[in-house]
Symmetry: C2
Subunit: 125 residues, 2 copies
């Protein structure tokens, strides 16, 4: 059973954490047969933590988890902190196979999305 | 003359700021006739600041500037800080028309991009 785990930074502002939960619901509608379910977790300031989210995935029957970092740049959070938290989850669940994907900001399509936002703001002119 | 101004948070890590500069170059190649040029600016920790970037756009002949926030959630930076900085740029350049677009995280396509990153990480299975 394959799980997709969206990992965000986490915020003191509950509405920002809610945006992440909504995004993971949107993703759930898009994964089709590629993943059996989508969950989300936070690096800090909000729950569930990454290790807790990995536990949750395993309790729901995941044998493979793909972690997707919802981050814009390859800063310390992406290069060090997320791998460390994932490692804790892996140690607690030695039989699950965990893969970490590239972070959002590394996706080529971001440039086009930003241009699209700008075009829309000027009324599609 | 229409300018697109990409606004990022800014980082102490120079490579993260460089990622933003590269992204703005990528956008430059995508804007076609929609915008005459693309520039970038930072909210904090890096140069140019938003007011300086607005000055630069105006010096290069911009009559309209569309500011695109490269941010994932509608936190204080997006709702308060960017509008305040844009207002300073507007006061310094009263004749330019400035529009702020929605932030990156508000784009519907983000969910699909994240799913795509996850599918790619598991080898397209």
């Amino acid at each position: 059973m394959k799980a997709l785990l969206l990992v965000a930074h986490g915020s003191r502002k509950e509405s920002s954490n809610q945006e992440v939960a909504q995004l993971s619901s949107q993703m759930q509608r898009l994964v089709n047969e590629k993943f059996d379910f989508v969950k989300h977790g936070f690096l800090e300031l909000a729950e569930p933590s990454i290790p807790d989210a990995i536990d949750n995935c395993c309790q729901q029957g995941a044998t493979h988890i793909t972690v997707v970092p919802y981050f814009l740049s390859a800063g310390r959070h992406v290069t060090e902190d997320i791998p460390e938290e994932v490692e804790i989850g892996q140690k607690n669940n030695p039989n699950v196979e965990i893969t970490v994907s590239s972070y959002l900001g590394a996706q080529d399509e971001i440039a086009a999305l930003l241009v699209e936002a700008a075009v829309y703001a000027q009324g599609g002119r």
